[in-house]
Symmetry: C2
Subunit: 476 residues, 2 copies
């Protein structure tokens, strides 16, 4: 337990009240919280056994005073105050969209390098621990995963816990969430936060054999509001309304608008919001969408999407490294690294996943566990290069056809070029020089300076005619 | 000289008349030709020194009777007849669009495997002979090249001949074509026909330092009509209105409509017509466009373009194999072969070009000469596979998402699949089996049967997890 409260760490107000009746359905609870960053109303929730909690995320050191509101007399009009200290080192608050890039709430730039383990929280504890260990040593600072258990090929095991009470697999009591399930989910998000990893929480999805994807709409809305109230105080949360939202049956575009609005309104910390498509894209220009979260192998359209929507572009599914039968899960590590580089120089963020066959169906993308592929080390190399070269993000170069789709500029004027299948003999330095020229092998993970100083307009001979190379032009 | 006339070989009626005044401007000449295939009016032309020619392409054996019409009394009302024998073996007549595929006029299917040497007819004779020798041994059955000389990087030499009389490089007499230039161009087309190679004649283009791309519009129209009248009797002609038509200055879409109509109306043999873009596409749905001739590296859109336009799709510029500085000319042979395979299984035709640096600027794409790259042998291998497997063309499989973009069906039910960067462990046989299953390495050019008989729905384990492989499912 922490001995003090800090900005950008979750704060919880715990209250005890009666638990007769059905507090999940019947009790409304919130608090007006007034602190150095202003005043806000924060929604609370029942956490089973008469325990009520109101969680919020302080953004600044100082005194926070709170007063509850409830339709339950025992919980209404309670007051208190909390002293919050400055943020711990390395704590920067939630990631926000700023223009076409991301920054933490304290202004620190955020470069997103995500992966996907849809059902990692629904596995045996040993597998979950392995997932966290793997993530800690990986280049990934975001993980997409599902709130509800997943039923799909390679996801055929039952989860240890279910989100509702009832008779598992046959009949659920939509009026009674399973608080152990929910507390475990909280804890999963908290463990990720400890590792500095963003939790891209997928609220709904269509891969279901239990009936969770077709529960009554009022029960779904109540459950989502509860989950948002539970999790919003964790600074590392991103909200994904759904995975492959267009495969969920009988839901109109207006329905999804409503889900976005519900999440936005219940979220006291203003986390990122998007939705992931299968074939049909949601209209990302709508005001409640903070960034694009798209499935597309065509990462080269990143620059165009940035321009069209004016929002950050995350290609979180571009096919996974693996060898399974399904086409979305059998590209080579080499090809996935290639897509990371192309997306990166197009000013977008690309997501990883891994789907190698395993005798016990331990596919990373499905369940987490261990990574076996060739791409993570190369994604780490790319991440290091981008962090060194363009710590506040890359802007694709679209005004020069030789660089268009291949090159991007850092805010200091440095340039990163990725040649992919191209093998030019030589390369002309763009305006804005002079530059130091580094020749990069993204697969062998080597960097070699080939010109200590090259002026704009100068044509630099490249050391060998080989494809899949990159150049870094460091502004001198 | 041939001792007899044959169907699908050009026939020429030669007349002599006065050459005073300017016959190019002043003399109109045509013939009504009546043969076993009906009656048609064919435009004639002055060929210098009072020589007049009317050329046509007979499509069937039999007697062809002709009668001239002219505003020149010496040339008017002349009559004659010609006996035409059956087509020589291997002579099938012009290529026509039929739905989304190509067939020769006699019904023989045509699978297009093209290359590009823009200015090959404007080089020294020795280079031209080398080009023809190279083509004869190559997998290519079509070549794109320019009527007018080309001025561009790597195309800096003067041509041996110019299309007009005048003072070279400074002032041209638009009223006086250079007949030696034109006869040489005829001969180039004829030499290609001898080799069984389609001549994709690019009528206009913007790469110019002499003023040919900006001549007066009436002079341009007169010259184009003359060229079409000269060349239309060659069965191997395709008309490309222009290369990168959208880079020619001051021409509206309506202007290009007019060029298409002029060519269509002057052409007695009804050759294929299209136009090649840089960035802005011409509207290929217009009725005078017979097929798409597009510049795009996105060959995976072939299936969609076939569906949208209902016409054959030729991606004749998808970046060239080479190592020059310019991005359109420095992909690897491996990548070009990859694009050929993707385009092919998307039901389209892909074009080759080669742009390796050369001390004397002898780049194949520019001037012809020798091929040095790695792709032609692999394109030959692909051509052989397609000719064996789908002699009348491939139809992309769009009703099965595992095959969509990766597989195409032959008319006999056989299937060709290309995995590109995908490395599936195994592959499920589509409906329409049983099949014999061949494992293909497009780069090493090997074919190995991995299952003598596989039923529809059966999952066949693939011999190794490696990318850039193909499967052929031969319908049993």
């Amino acid at each position: 337990m922490p001995t003090a409260l800090h900005a950008w760490d979750p704060v919880e107000i715990a209250l005890q009240g009666a638990s007769n009746g059905n507090p999940y359905l019947e009790v409304q609870l919130s608090a007006i919280v007034e602190g150095p960053d202003g005043e806000a109303e924060v929604i609370g929730f029942h956490d089973g056994g008469g325990a009520y909690r109101i969680r919020f995320l302080p953004s600044a050191p100082g005194t926070y005073r709170w007063r509850t509101r409830s339709n339950h007399p025992e919980l209404d009009g309670k007051t208190g105050s909390l002293e919050v200290e400055a943020a711990r080192p390395g704590r920067h608050g939630p990631v926000r969209a700023e223009g076409v890039g991301f920054r933490h709430a304290d202004g620190t730039p955020h470069l997103s390098f995500g992966t996907t383990c849809y059902a990692w929280t629904h596995q045996d504890p040993a597998v979950q621990e392995a997932t966290l260990r793997t993530l800690a040593a990986s280049p990934f600072n975001k993980i997409r995963f599902c709130l509800f258990p997943k039923s799909y090929r390679y996801n055929e095991n039952e989860p240890p816990l279910y989100p509702f009470e009832g008779t598992p697999l046959t009949e659920w009591d939509w009026d009674r969430p399973d608080y152990a399930f929910l507390r475990h989910f909280d804890e999963s998000v908290r463990r990720l936060d400890e590792l500095g990893i963003q939790a891209d929480v997928i609220l709904l999805h269509p891969y279901d054999r239990w009936g969770f994807s077709t529960m009554p709409r009022d029960a779904e809305a109540r459950f989502l509001r509860h989950v948002v109230a539970r999790l919003a105080a964790f600074p590392n949360v991103w909200w994904s309304m759904a995975n492959e939202y267009d495969l969920l049956p009988d839901r109109t575009e207006e329905y999804w608008d409503g889900v976005f609005q519900l999440v936005r309104d219940a979220d006291s910390a203003g986390h990122l919001r998007s939705v992931h498509n299968c074939v049909r894209w949601y209209d990302h220009s709508k005001p409640w969408v903070t960034h694009l979260s798209v499935q597309s192998a065509n990462v080269g359209q990143g620059a165009e999407l940035r321009r069209r929507f004016g929002k950050p572009v995350v290609f979180d599914e571009v096919c996974y490294e693996g060898d399974i039968e399904e086409t979305w899960g059998n590209i080579t590590g080499f090809e996935l690294v290639h897509r990371f580089w192309v997306g990166t120089v197009c000013g977008a963020y690309v997501g990883h996943g891994e789907t190698y066959r395993h005798p016990e169906d331990l596919l990373w993308w499905a369940k987490g566990g261990e990574l076996r592929g060739e791409s993570p080390a190369r994604i780490a190399f790319l991440r290091r290069i981008v962090e060194e070269t363009a710590p506040d993000g890359l802007t694709p170069i679209e005004d020069d056809w030789m660089y268009h789709g291949r090159g991007a500029r850092a805010s200091d004027g440095s340039v990163l070029v990725f040649f992919g299948p191209h093998q030019p003999c030589c390369w002309r330095m763009p305006p804005g020089g002079p530059f130091r020229v580094d020749w990069i092998d993204p697969w062998e993970m080597s960097i070699r300076t080939i010109a200590e100083r090259a002026e704009s307009g100068q044509v630099v001979e490249l050391p060998s005619v080989r494809p899949h190379r990159a150049l870094r032009l460091r502004k001198l």
